[in-house]
Symmetry: C2
Subunit: 183 residues, 2 copies
């Protein structure tokens, strides 16, 4: 598959990021977005260079396409996305189970914005989302929730993405560490 | 299913944790272990109370069984696990693809130790593991890799785990936040 699969664009909007405290987890959210088939990452509120530069570095070395934006208003972004004809999926442990929700989400051809909160998420997002989706009802991690959601949405086909650009590639191997330069 | 599924015990060993820098990511690793069906979490090297207390708090409120250990030698733990008849799965982006490796791992009834590194992992673990398993060949997150591995191992049935003890439970809902007290 190509990043975005049949939807053209699948973006991940990260809410409530706090510098320092969330730097590594938010970077993981962005890298999971890219590795599991999304086409863009949007950081609400701040432009944390630590996060943005890490993610851009991965795209430069490993390929894309993958867009990175930051410092936006989350509410405005969600409204804009919906006005542009896209749909909004909010990942929350309080939503509808991913395995029950994904068939309808996957069947809709609309561009998708996946909203991922840090701690408390405002009511606005529960109300404005087309879908509130839960990946299990136990507390765990937004990184894991995003990976499982995208895995289900793309039916595991993220594994076959051929990234363009970049110059590094890993070859699978039972014992080794085989990294090659492309081309 | 019950935590551990047909294997009795599935433990997650976290290597190379550094206080402060890795506190949140390591906590996510431990909570993902629990939520996706593992029965224990082992932190190599240090006893970071921030991590240990968070995880124990989740077990107290949301149920178990789920064991937490810390401050062990990773090498000794791996050797001990194998001597006790268990098998060792090392998650690394350089291994064999999860979808290719899991059928054989799942078919073996042995107790499983899943090894999850932070940054660089010593050669020892590549050599001693029964399986080096990769969740994609792109850089992303050990939190996501663990979630996908356990999801595949348990075929998505972690969703139906009924935890014992604890007093909180989330009810799925399309718009809401419904948390109930058990019992």
């Amino acid at each position: 598959m190509k990043p975005g699969g049949p939807y053209g664009d699948v973006y991940v909007l990260r809410l409530g990021h706090r510098r320092e405290r969330d730097k590594r987890v938010t970077t993981h959210v962005a890298l999971v977005a890219r590795a599991f088939g999304a086409t863009g990452f949007v950081l609400e509120g701040v432009c944390d260079e630590g996060v943005v530069e890490s993610v851009k570095g991965v795209v430069a070395r490993w390929g894309g396409p993958f867009t990175v934006e930051c410092g936006v208003s989350g509410r405005r972004y969600v409204r804009m996305w919906r006005e542009g004809g896209g749909e909004v999926v909010h990942l929350t442990m309080y939503g509808v189970n991913v395995d029950d929700a994904v068939p309808a989400i996957a069947a809709s051809p609309r561009r998708k914005l996946v909203v991922v909160g840090a701690e408390k998420v405002e009511r606005f997002y529960y109300d404005e989302a087309d879908w509130n989706v839960s990946v299990g009802t136990q507390p765990h991690s937004e990184v894991a929730a995003l990976a499982i959601f995208l895995d289900r949405l793309f039916r595991g086909e993220w594994r076959f993405i051929d990234y363009s650009g970049g110059f590094l590639r890993v070859m699978e191997s039972p014992r080794g560490k085989r990294v090659e330069r492309k081309g």
